[in-house]
């Protein structure tokens, strides 16, 4: 099942990447990032089946970080929304050089 799992992983990851690229709504982009992280989790779990439980331990960490990142990122989006009344990426360009 390793090869199939990895193929699925790759496909999910790529879907996440494409999602990041084509969406303009910041929240949906965020969710695509979560999808990418989930795909990576699957990779670890798939490998851990054949190469030891360290993979699963790492999944715990990935999930933790993903949760923290989601919390902070959404807080940022809320803050931006308060200023700009939008979460469209086209309008969030204060860093323009």
């Amino acid at each position: 099942m390793l090869a199939e799992s990895l193929a699925l992983t790759a496909a999910l990851f790529i879907i996440g990447v494409v999602g990041v690229l084509i969406h303009r709504n910041a929240i949906i982009i965020f969710m695509c990032v979560e999808l990418m992280l989930t795909a990576v989790n699957l990779t670890f779990v798939a490998f851990s089946r054949f190469y030891g439980t360290a993979g699963q331990v790492f999944v715990v960490f990935v999930m933790t970080v993903s949760a923290a990142e989601a919390a902070v990122g959404l807080a940022i989006i809320i803050a931006i929304f308060r200023h700009r009344q939008t979460v469209d990426l086209r309008n969030i360009n204060l860093l323009k050089g």
Binding site: V17, V20, L21, R24, A26, I29, L89, R90, I92, N93, L94, L95, K96, G97
Partner: protein, 738 residues
């Protein structure tokens, strides 16, 4: 100490090792110490109220009377009676002892070393190697001093005449606020000159060569507040530099072809080079270019007359006795090279001869007493080059020695005259030129000792028998004549002219120059000392003989001038009149220049004694004729004062203006150089290319690159994500596409 004595021959120690000769390093070090001490003292401001004690705005620039007038007028208003107070430097006393003292000590040491040499008669040079100066691959140059008969002669001349001139300067420069600075520069000069003559290889010689050029610049522009003096210093230095380029190229060629640069090594390996080949000729000609710069021959002589802007003792020491003779010394030192190239030797002789007659004719129409002597120096240097050019190295050196005697005497004598004239004009607040002969005349009643001694020198330089100049000048002419038949020079071909014919022409030119020499020197004496006093009735009462410290040196030089000829009495004369030992200098210098001389004269038939005596007779007749001609034709009482002078016309004006050589050089070289520098090098290269393209351009490039980079900072997060993904693609591509 890091003294290492080089064993010059197999396992046999040099006869001079272990003697006083090991102290040869002290010879240049003493003047160097004098330079340091005097230099430190000169930094000490000694004069309250003066803006800068080292600048003498009190002493008039030699040769420029207009500035004197204005400064005098102002000072007379400001200072009142204080105007005549002596403003001496605080440390003048110490400097008066240290300055000449180190020279006298050096001279005594030189005498000691000479004594050691005279008793041991070394055949090979005595080398003292101190440290390895430039060990770079194949190039191995040591800081080494070489003591042999040739350098001994130069050392004695430099320290001896130098000491006398230092003592003279004590009196001459007494009231100058820059007194310690003067002596420090003078001591530095002697140090460098001794390095030049003591160097054991070309680079050490070159250090001294450059150093004396530097000191010449410093001393010519001693009163640098006046632009004329500063410009003269610059001119001397720049023209020297042009010559130095030639010298450097010669050194490079030597190294490239022989691989060594020390004199012993080069003379040993010079035999490997093909005699008469273009290579040897090129090396010698480039070296001679350096000599024309340093010793003021055509084409690089134009700095010497301008150099008279410096103090008179400087002119005596540097521009008569020592620095300008460095070129002659160099050729004598490189005799092993020049004797291998008849073309180069002939070139040297031709240039010397042409310069001799050329400068002599200019001296005929100069009114500044120092300028006459300057052109006389150039002319006499021409004689020396004729001597070393035809391979008579001993004759050239002999004339070098005697010339240093009588030319120093002439310069110092003129220094006394100028000193007296200047004092007189100073007292009467006159703005007249103290150096112009038209303002002199009849000074023999006021400066009797100077008068007598300068006449002795004049007779010597003209070649009147039994004075030193007679012997040395005749020896040169006789050498030229002897080599005109049968020597390697005679059989050579100089630009199509057969060497023998050329040598006869050179001989004739030498005679002509002797005639002119006699004329202009007599003219100088007539206008300065004889005839009516043109100085002005008010000033006459102030004219006086200089103090004893100055006249004593003149007397010593006078004695040397009279008896200097005994250094190298020729066979021809001693056979007839037993005056003394024969050919002293020839025997002395034989170990050094003997082989080279022999190489040139091989095959030359000995000139019969009768012919030689006839030649001597001709020379004497010409000298006397010149003097008589001058006395007959020139009327001192018809010379107007400078203020009333009538401008010359026609050919006289051309000669008086030095054949417009300076103007021609200005037109052909200086102005085009300025034009190229300003229009091309400054505007296009410096402003346009370097500033515009490189400096501003690189700034503009950085700015534009930054602008391009700033376009990446869109602030658009979506674009950032795209860039990120593309980057990941590329990176993974590096792994997968291997």
């Amino acid at each position: 100490m890091f003294l290492q004595t080089a064993v010059s021959a197999a396992a046999v120690a040099h006869p001079l090792s272990g003697t006083i000769a090991e102290w040869v390093w002290l010879l240049p070090v003493l003047p160097l110490a004098g330079f340091v001490i005097n230099g430190l003292l000169s930094l000490n401001s000694a004069h309250f109220g003066a803006a800068d004690p080292n600048i003498s705005d009190h002493h008039p620039p030699e040769g420029g009377a207009e500035a004197l007038a204005s400064s005098h007028a102002e000072e007379a208003e400001e200072a009142g009676d204080d105007h005549h107070a002596v403003r001496r430097h605080r440390w003048a006393g110490v400097v008066s002892v240290v300055g000449p003292g180190v020279l006298i000590l050096s001279f005594l040491l030189a005498l000691g070393i000479w004594q050691a040499m005279a008793t041991t008669h070394p055949e090979a040079p005595f080398i003292q190697r101190y440290f390895s100066w430039m060990p770079v691959g194949d190039l191995q140059i040591d800081a080494a001093l070489q003591l042999d008969q040739l350098s001994m002669v130069m050392i004695l001349v430099v320290t001896g005449v130098g000491a006398l001139i230092h003592v003279f300067s004590v009196g001459y420069m007494r009231d100058d606020p820059g007194y310690p600075r003067y002596f420090s520069y003078l001591n530095l000069f002697v140090f460098f000159m001794l390095m030049l003559v003591l160097g054991a290889n070309y680079p050490v010689l070159f250090v001294g060569w450059e150093g004396v050029g530097l000191c010449s610049y410093l001393l010519i522009g001693f009163w640098f507040n006046d632009k004329v003096n500063a410009d003269a210093g610059k001119k001397a230095f720049i023209l020297n530099r042009i010559g130095d380029f030639g010298f450097l190229v010669a050194m490079f060629m030597l190294f490239a072809n022989i691989g060594v640069l020390d004199f012993i090594g080069v003379s040993a390996k010079a035999g490997d080079l093909v005699a008469g080949s273009p290579l040897i000729t090129a090396i010698c000609l480039f070296m001679f270019l350096g000599c024309t710069g340093k010793s003021a021959q055509i084409p690089l002589y134009v700095w010497l007359p301008d150099a008279m802007a410096g103090p008179t003792p400087v002119s005596a020491l540097i521009h008569a006795a020592t620095m300008v003779t460095a070129g002659v010394y160099l050729i004598a030192r490189s005799s092993f090279l020049f004797s291998l190239s008849p073309v180069a030797s002939l070139t040297v002789a031709v240039v010397g001869a042409v310069t001799a007659i050329f400068a002599a004719t200019i001296g005929l129409k100069q009114w500044d007493i120092k300028k006459v002597l300057a052109y006389s120096t150039i002319s006499q240097l021409g004689y020396m080059f004729v001597g070393v050019g035809v391979g008579a190295y001993v004759s050239g050196m002999f004339h070098l020695v005697t010339h240093s005697f009588f030319k120093a005497l002439l310069f110092l004598g003129s220094g006394s005259v100028i000193h007296a004239m200047h004092a007189a004009y100073h007292q009467t607040h006159s703005a007249e030129d103290a150096q112009d002969m038209r303002n002199m005349g009849g000074l023999k009643q006021y400066l009797p000792i100077t008068f007598v001694l300068m006449w002795i020198a004049t007779l010597a330089i003209s070649g009147i028998p039994l004075l030193s100049g007679f012997f040395s000048k005749d020896e040169i002419l006789a050498s030229v004549f002897a080599r005109a038949h049968g020597s390697t020079l005679a059989s050579a071909n100089w630009l199509g002219i057969p060497g023998g014919t050329l040598l006869y022409v050179i001989y004739g030119t030498g005679l002509a120059a002797a005639f002119v020499t006699a004329i202009y020197m007599t003219r100088l004496m007539l206008y300065t000392f004889h005839g009516p006093v043109r100085t002005g009735t008010q000033e006459e009462q102030y004219l006086h003989e200089p103090p004893w410290i100055m006249t004593s040196t003149l007397v010593i030089l006078g004695i040397l001038t009279v008896f200097g000829g005994w250094l190298n009495l020729p066979e021809v004369i001693t056979d007839v009149v037993p005056l003394g030992p024969r050919d002293l200098l020839t025997h002395w210098l034989d170990p050094v220049v003997g082989p080279a001389t022999a190489r040139i004269t091989a095959g030359a038939a000995q000139v019969p004694a009768a012919t030689e005596q006839a030649l001597i007779g001709v020379a004497v007749v010409i000298a006397v004729a010149g003097i008589v001609f001058a006395i007959g034709r020139l009327k001192p009482d018809r010379v107007p004062r400078k203020a009333d002078a009538i401008p010359e016309e026609g050919f006289e004006r051309v000669v008086a203006n030095k054949y417009y050589v300076d103007e021609a050089l200005d037109r052909t070289i200086v102005i085009p150089t300025y034009a190229v520098s300003r229009n091309f090098l400054w505007r296009i290269v410096d402003n346009g290319l370097i500033d515009g393209l490189f400096v501003n351009g690189s700034a503009a490039l950085a700015r534009s690159l930054g602008w391009v980079g700033s376009r990446l900072q869109t602030g658009n997060v979506g674009i950032y994500a795209w860039v990120l993904v593309v980057g990941v693609l590329a990176m993974l591509g590096a792994f997968t596409l291997r």
